[in-house]
Symmetry: C2
Subunit: 337 residues, 2 copies
Amino acid sequence: MGAAKKIGRQTIAFANPPVILSAASIVGPKEGEGPLKDYFDRIAGDMYYGEKTWEKAEQKILQETMELALSKAGLKPADMDFLLAGDLSNQIIAANFTARSLGIPFMGLYGACSTMYEGLALGSMLIDGGFARYVLLGACSHYATAERQYRFPTEQGVQRPMSAQWTVTGSGAVVLGKTGQGPRVTHAIIGRVVDYGEGDPNNMGAAMAPAAADTIVRHLKDIDQPPETYELIITGDLGKYGRELVIRLAEQQGIVLGTNYQDCGVLIFDESQDTHAGGSGCACSATVTCGYLLKEMKAGRLKNFFGLGTGALLSPCSCQQGESIPGIGHGVVVQAN
Amino acid sequence: MGAAKKIGRQTIAFANPPVILSAASIVGPKEGEGPLKDYFDRIAGDMYYGEKTWEKAEQKILQETMELALSKAGLKPADMDFLLAGDLSNQIIAANFTARSLGIPFMGLYGACSTMYEGLALGSMLIDGGFARYVLLGACSHYATAERQYRFPTEQGVQRPMSAQWTVTGSGAVVLGKTGQGPRVTHAIIGRVVDYGEGDPNNMGAAMAPAAADTIVRHLKDIDQPPETYELIITGDLGKYGRELVIRLAEQQGIVLGTNYQDCGVLIFDESQDTHAGGSGCACSATVTCGYLLKEMKAGRLKNFFGLGTGALLSPCSCQQGESIPGIGHGVVVQAN
């Protein structure tokens, strides 16, 4: 067994790439009408999912997704060494209460919408480092809980500018294992916080794009390969405008991203759904990765991808106190078995 | 180089125990009048610390503490492989903005008041696992930002029950290294979320005690040693009543904790300071560990300790929706060089 290798400044190449033993996704009704609807394991009939509040619905969705991932892998909570999870709600309550139900040693993460990929990167390190045989990880978000927490009371019906994105309701979860059958996480890269001064909570794609470009460029320079080395490079939730900005920012640093560069937020909704710039939220990259990407890989239609969770480190309090919105992007490389 | 070993269900024994190369602490004015005042590196003259808001003061305190830890270790941000940090503010803004300033690849953590120890445990795994040579980690809290976020507007002057604790203003930070001189982190244990149904945000010691007892008992059973194996077992911020509850809960599970069991929240203030049950907040365990414990160790007066960060996974939103307050406890064992 060799040791993990650091390539360049930030990229980690795993000595024994951890295996994605299973993945699960549950989405809300709107996502269940979108172009990726056939890829999700369950589609909620409404935003309450049988609960009395949106927050409880969000928690239930995360917990069910994790239970589904465990059951697909044929494993139980007691088999897991660690649970890594987070969400957008203050004090990551969906993750905390899910951890309470599952009883697995738990590390709470907060990477805003990048949390799924923070978990994938970290979980892979914990396995490759010899600290775990199995790690359960996931992230969730809910349109209505996020909207009223970050922006306006949902009932107020404020008009949304065209740069706004739509927080995805749903959750994705993965069981990572030291050995077994499935795609492997070969590389991970932890992002830096980057801030170009964007201050509009209705234009988060622009706030996150510089951090996403920083991580993509850094990773490609670390491995000294062109973007075409991956069949797909995909960011988490930059939306239409954020994606265009990443292309421009990467180009300024000598990296020309081609048609193999996509964004989960662009894919999850179509124009007719009136979501403006696209999807966002922890569940955007989580459900597209656990639903679409990993199922395409299972079907043999995708050989590898470099996925990047992108987070806007937005806080209503910091915005009110005049701060801009910094972003972050964490990435992992997944290779089909 | 051997591989890390899992002992029992949850305890990890590091193959090459990471070194605490430096530690720094800054506290607020009240903590600077308490019994541990001579151990802290800096004491803020007032709660604003030269900033316009309490939130900005909190962020500045965290950043200065991290810069101080780096400078004590003779290292720069660019030398660090990872930054691990979190705090109590919604969206961990103090940590995010500190990460923006330092430019180090950043993983945001949320473990409520256990965050310092979540970082110590995780940072040690990242180093022992071969993913990092240096990790900078820390946590902070601020009485006034926490009070107005979690309980009542600070200006309202609500009377506090005797079970209430006082959120510590301050920050602790540590530079962990793969090699070098200093105390070593020999073991880590990641806690499970435990909930006995306590629902009063003014009695967080009771909410956290079951999780703390769970981790302490589990660890001692994992290593199959009595509590006296450590010179000191210390919890993060249970306060007077929470500490007593841990002693009772451990006893029910066959572990008799003696006078070598203490709590950071009990030590940081004295009776005359009118803090009721004691200190709490991320900074409670962070400043007592980085100030008092590691300085006592440096002076040769403390050979080892099992420290446990304790977190109440409290959310104003979940409390309003009728939920109880689950707790968590993460621990590390530190041995003098």
